[in-house]
């Protein structure tokens, strides 16, 4: 049992913080105000990721042969914490690094690796994730977007929904059904689909969580070359399952929630509220929830670092992450009342972020089902 960072890790975190202080522009709060889907933050993320790549930190957890540094899962976790804490200046590119790149390494052709990995490693490209559909929701195996083979192309028809960042992306990691007769897990394939192909239309869905966060994407007879298919035809489900495992823990929401809590405590102290023992105890409880979520995330990273296959621990960590963020959001509302609901205020930003938590990492219900099934050995329904 060790629960201290190594000297090298401590130094890395300090370097990272110094880099952020130096690199983030003075108006970063303004840039990031309307969320990672906004034009301002999307544009800035390209600039930022290029600098991160220059430092060798953007894809440090990748193998050296793909431009990485074989860094430990812990080092990558430190990067994730620091990025998320300051509002994720990587924007959508965290997806590239965390699971799109690694999945291409695992399943991609040489041609695909050469085409996609270097731009990701240099921080030059933005991706989006084309999973959900209007009629399928979290139940991905019900997807209906069809890709019918026609010569060297697939002809894609259908639509995707909740597609974050697609308005700024060059590519979409797109799930399609290549066998129209198939059902559920069978007959699904993945296309590494350029976004600028003829027949693709994007509609923004205005939301409470900032500009251009959600979109609907319509595909009308879009011709995608067969060479863009990732992995074997009709057997994309295994590839997705693999990719999702990389993404399992999700963002370091506990870290940002803990920081938010510190800030809330500071403001409560300014108002003289913190002398009330009951208020203090509420803060203590919320803090314990953050630390619990951190602990569960670290368990997953610990396993990953040891090369163990993913377990239900990952689902546990995701749920705890969400709960911690929501606990801090509710505390903010209870403590600061209507001030916490002012748009752009510290508490309001956190509250809106917390509204996305359950959506972003997969429904809490589904995670609980997996915990019950895998962890407690309870039967599936």
């Amino acid at each position: 049992m060790e629960f201290d960072w190594s000297a090298e890790e401590i130094e890395y975190r300090e370097d990272l913080r110094a880099f952020l202080v130096e690199t983030l522009p003075e108006n970063w709060a303004e840039i990031s105000k309307d969320g990672p889907g906004s034009d301002a933050q999307a544009a800035y993320s390209l600039e930022f990721c290029a600098k991160l790549a220059e430092k060798g930190w953007l894809t440090q957890n990748w193998p050296a042969e793909y431009g990485g540094r074989d860094a430990s899962a812990w080092r990558h976790a430190i990067l994730g914490e620091e990025m998320w804490q300051c509002g994720e200046p990587r924007g959508a590119q965290y997806m590239n690094v965390n699971w799109i790149g690694p999945t291409i390494m695992e399943y991609g052709t040489e041609e695909q690796k050469t085409l996609h990995l270097p731009p990701i490693a240099r921080g030059e490209v933005q991706w989006s994730q084309g999973f959900s559909e209007p009629e399928a929701g979290s139940d991905l195996v019900s997807l209906r977007t069809l890709a019918i083979r026609d010569g060297d192309d697939y002809v894609v028809n259908g639509s995707k929904i909740w597609t974050s960042y697609v308005n700024h992306a060059q590519y979409c990691f797109l799930l399609v059904r290549t066998d129209p007769e198939s059902k559920r897990h069978k007959g699904i394939s993945i296309l590494l689909c350029p976004i600028d192909l003829p027949g693709i239309e994007i509609r923004e869905i205005p939301s409470v969580v900032g500009d251009r966060y959600f979109h609907e994407v319509f595909f009308s007879d879009v011709r995608v070359p067969v060479s863009s298919r990732l992995g074997p035809e009709h057997e994309g489900w295994n590839v997705v399952a693999h990719a999702l495992q990389y993404e399992r823990v999700g963002a370091a929401r506990y870290a940002r929630a803990a920081l938010t809590l510190d800030e809330l405590a500071r403001r409560a102290a300014e108002l003289g509220m913190i002398e009330d023992e009951a208020v203090l105890e509420r803060f203590g409880e919320a803090r314990a929830a953050c630390e619990a979520a951190r602990m569960l995330a670290y368990r997953v990273i610990d396993l990953r670092n040891q090369g163990s296959p993913p377990t239900a621990d990952t689902n546990v960590a995701r749920v705890a992450n969400t709960l911690a963020e929501q606990a801090v959001a509710e505390l903010a509302l209870e403590t600061f009342g209507p001030d916490a609901l002012e748009y752009g205020s510290f508490a309001d930003s956190h509250f809106r972020l917390a509204m996305t938590a359950g959506v972003a990492v997969g429904a809490t219900e589904i995670n609980l089902n997996l915990v019950a099934n895998r962890f407690l050995g309870l039967p599936r329904e």
């Binding site: 939301s207 959600f214 609901l341 002012e342 748009y343 509204m355």
Partner: protein, 311 residues
């Protein structure tokens, strides 16, 4: 005479006619389009119906009629400072009271610096330490955008006239707020129940999953209780019963909790659709969030009295 929890004919008539008014004039689209602004014409129409004058000497009704009105308005998530206006009509002198009840001016009830509806308000009433004061703004009202989509504002004020003890006006405020919130929460639960009845995932209707059905059942239970407590408080108010203050506080506490819980559960069940501006629930949940933390609060008075509740 004994306990009877239904509305009488007059109260039912208020509920029915306002429900019809809302169906005609305050659809989901109207509510969404009004976010961020004040519903000028709607508000005047509401006043013309005599709703804002209920529970005043001049008005045609009492607190229970106001509760019936708020149940109808809450179902439609009708915008505007409804409960605050009921409070104002209790503490203002006759001329101002008439102006407010006619929809001629809007009230901001709270305490400085952050006031609900301040950018459009003509009358400011501060509530503190058990009393109400008529106030005058000093300096510019700085508009504030809120989660609830209501126009709030920051402004310093100067106390101008002591309007006397805020009770029983605060009780009327709390019980009408409770009736509105319980109704809005019930609306949210019904929309969500409808959604999970029809939406299929993993091969069955969402509502077949206990993880979906039970939280909704919990919410409907808490909302039913809050609805009843608001009506009971209205009855006590009209009877000028001693327990009115605590009954109103219990109703508000129950309704705020139940409605906020309904907002949480419904967002959990609607997922991404819930946090879109055009979706079926955010225009309701945002108002619930805002109203549940709206001043005047006067928590210490509430805590003090709530210990001694009993029928």
């Amino acid at each position: 005479m004994s306990i009877d929890l239904g509305f009488d004919d007059g109260q039912q008539a208020v509920f029915d006619s306002l429900s019809q008014f809302c169906a005609d004039r305050c659809s989901e689209e109207v509510v969404k389009s009004l976010a961020g602004g004040f519903p000028d014409s709607l508000w005047r129409e509401l006043a013309e119906l005599g709703v804002l004058a209920l529970a005043t000497a001049e008005g045609d009704g009492g607190a229970l009629e106001a509760v019936a009105a708020c149940e109808a308005l809450g179902r439609a998530v009708f915008p505007g400072p409804i409960a605050s206006t009921f409070l104002a009509t209790q503490v203002l002198p006759a001329a101002d009271r008439a102006l407010v009840a006619e929809g001629g001016t809007v009230v901001a009830v709270g305490s400085p610096p952050l006031w609900p509806w301040a950018p459009v308000a003509g009358i400011f009433i501060e509530v503190a330490d058990g009393r109400a004061w008529r106030c005058t703004p000093r300096g510019e009202v700085v508009a504030v955008e809120t989660l609830g989509g209501e126009p709030w504002g920051r402004v310093r004020v100067e106390r101008e006239a002591d309007l006397g003890p805020v009770d029983p006006a605060l009780s009327l405020y709390e019980l009408t707020l409770a009736a509105y919130l319980a109704a809005a929460g019930t609306q949210l639960v019904e929309i969500t129940a409808d959604h999970v009845r029809t939406r299929k995932q993993f091969g069955k209707a969402l509502g077949e999953f206990q993880a979906v059905a039970h939280p909704l059942a919990d919410c409907s239970m808490a909302l039913a209780a809050a609805t009843g407590l608001a009506r009971a408080a209205g009855f006590h108010f009209d009877a000028q019963a001693e327990c009115t203050r605590v009954a109103a506080a219990a109703a508000r506490l129950s309704a705020c909790r139940a409605a906020v819980e309904a907002a949480q559960v419904c967002h959990q069940l609607f997922g991404a659709l819930g946090i879109t501006l055009e979706g079926p629930v955010f225009h309701i949940s945002r108002r619930i969030r805002q109203l549940a933390s709206q001043p005047p609060d006067d928590a210490s008075a509430r805590a003090e009295v709530i210990g001694g509740f009993g029928l």
